[in-house]
Amino acid sequence: MDLEKKGGGIMIGKEISIRIIIAGFLIPIFLAACATTTDTYRDEKMDFGSIQTIAVMPFMSLTRDNVAADRVRDVFMNNLLSTEAAYVIPVGEVARGVSRAEIGNPAAPSPEEVIKLAGLIKVQAVITGAVREYGEVRSGAASANVISLSVQMFETQTGKVVWSASSTKGGISVWDRLFGGGGQPMDKVTEKAVNDLINKLLK
């Protein structure tokens, strides 16, 4: 009986310690899932509804692809315009404004330059962006297209940043690793990332 009790005690003790170990693994995982990380900054004082006209500046390309910035800017402008939330002025008009305002680096204008540009082309907001990653990524035998971009919006009365967000889409998924496939075409991945950013802006 004693032996049985002893054995039972050992069994119960073992069960408890196993449960503690499992809980020790699971709790941090659940807690991590509860954590909120955001890549979006939004000025709470800004009245985004007052923005009627937006200028999208040439995007900065931090990739090896020379036309990546142009491609992404084109898609961003078109998709923003198609939401009908604001009017996006044509690229030629932005270029005219940049030239007249004598902005040295249109991809990263200073607050003063933003104010000057807005006075010339009559816009309430100026958007700048940077394409951080664009193209194919490889990992072992798997490959897929990936895009990573960040965008910020300047309010043109003070030249202050009122909204900033970033998005990364594409890349190698578990499916790609296991079965191959090469991921989605670059155009689709770009559109997804751009729509993600616009969703964050219009939220």
């Binding site: 898609v75 078109n78 315009l81 198609s82 030629g92 270029a95 559109e191």
Partner: protein, 384 residues
């Protein structure tokens, strides 16, 4: 009595035959040939030298000779070679991708030509299967040159392979002949019957713009005069901007609601106004251009990708954006993004596959025209 093995083998044969037949049906129907009926016509035409937009060496003289030969065979009055050469030298005509008002006026006065046939060769590949892309337009001469007729053809030798590949075209000369027959056939039809527009088939759904903005300012019933300015070329393909401009002229002209200004006239006006476009046309430049051309809209855009492939394996890719700016409201009234691959939506036996960027671009632009006139509001799925 039919045994089970006999029954199964007969079924197997039937299935295999069916698959072969379906396989033969694969490919686009772009190569539909038009019949060319010789006729008498008193419409003297000057045939300009072929504009080479292939980006490589191409047998331009051969193409031009074949075109003139076919026109002569059709009873057309083609301006003599020497007369045209003398006229071009005298008037210092160097640009052969269009005609401006002064040149058109001089051409009529000095040679008596009523029209000028401007032809651009977009694609010419002799690698098996051969490929060709050709666009021709007839522009009136005189004070106000206008596009009377425009048509083009994009063919690949394996467009319609048919049963057991019997429909394959392996000889580039044969393909060129087909392309020229198609063009002269359409021209003949226009000149004899005055038929400017044929009943066009609706563009396939997969070629619709991927996202677009359409302003409510557009009135579908109104007739718009459009000045199409060269597209910005951001692709690796040489002359992709000019090619895209030409495609837009060809496809937009199909719609009776649009009047397209001759490219040579637009070019001349851009030079006269000294319009330098760094990234795109500004509103001030748009206003100046449209007021001198008496047009309502200016169409511009960028070509991001324009790829054809050589040989059997590969797929064409086209990616571009287009914008329409209106003169009165000084605003963008249309903006769209389009991209496609020749094998989009192709799952079985290459059915629905498009072999040339030419044929694909035509469909993509036609779809833009349809959306523009449909009166539907902007379309863009916002869920990433």
């Amino acid at each position: 009595m039919i045994s089970l093995t006999n029954y199964l083998s007969r079924n197997f044969v039937l299935i295999v035959a069916g698959l072969l037949l379906f396989g033969g049906c694969g490919g686009s129907k772009e190569s539909a040939r038009r019949e060319f009926h010789p006729r008498e016509t008193k419409f003297p035409i000057a045939v300009f030298p072929i504009e080479n937009l292939t980006g490589t060496a191409a047998p331009l003289e051969e193409v031009r000779k074949s075109l003139i030969l076919q026109l002569n065979a059709g009873g057309f009055q083609v301006l003599e070679e020497e007369v045209l050469a003398r006229f071009m030298a005298r008037n210092r005509v160097r640009f052969i991708g269009g005609i401006d008002s002064e040149t058109a006026q001089a051409l009529k006065k000095e040679t008596g030509a009523e029209g000028v046939l401007i032809t651009s060769l977009e694609l010419y590949s002799e690698a098996n299967p051969p490929k060709i892309g050709l666009t021709s337009r007839l522009v009136s001469t005189g004070e106000n040159p206008s596009i009377l007729w425009i048509d083009g053809v994009g063919l690949a030798g394996d467009d319609s392979p048919g049963f057991l590949g019997l429909g394959l075209v392996e000889d580039p000369k044969d393909l060129l002949k087909r392309a020229i027959e198609s063009i002269t056939g359409g021209l003949g039809k226009y000149l004899s019957a005055g038929e400017e527009r044929e009943d066009i088939k609706k563009a396939r759904r997969k070629f619709q713009p991927k996202s677009f903005y359409r302003s409510e300012v557009i009135v579908p019933e109104k007739k718009y005069t459009i000045a199409i300015i060269p597209f910005f070329n951001r692709s690796d393909r040489k002359y992709a901007g000019e090619i895209m401009t030409l495609h837009f002229v060809k496809e937009m002209k199909k719609f009776s609601e649009f009047e397209i200004i001759e490219l040579g006239v637009v070019r001349k006006q851009l030079l006269t106004l000294r319009v330098v476009m760094e990234e795109g046309i500004s509103i001030a430049q748009t206003e100046a251009l449209l007021s001198t051309l008496f047009a309502d809209l200016v169409l511009t855009g960028r070509v991001m990708d324009y790829q054809d492939y050589q040989g059997t394996y590969g797929t064409p890719k086209v990616d571009f954006s287009a914008q329409l700016i209106e003169r009165k409201s000084r605003m963008v009234i249309w903006s769209s993004i389009s991209y496609n691959r020749g094998d989009d939506g192709v799952f079985f036996f290459d059915r629905g596959r498009v072999n040339t960027a030419y044929a694909m671009t035509s469909q993509m632009i036609q779809s833009i025209g349809e959306k523009l006139l449909k009166g539907k509001k902007s379309e863009k799925p916002l869920s990433p």
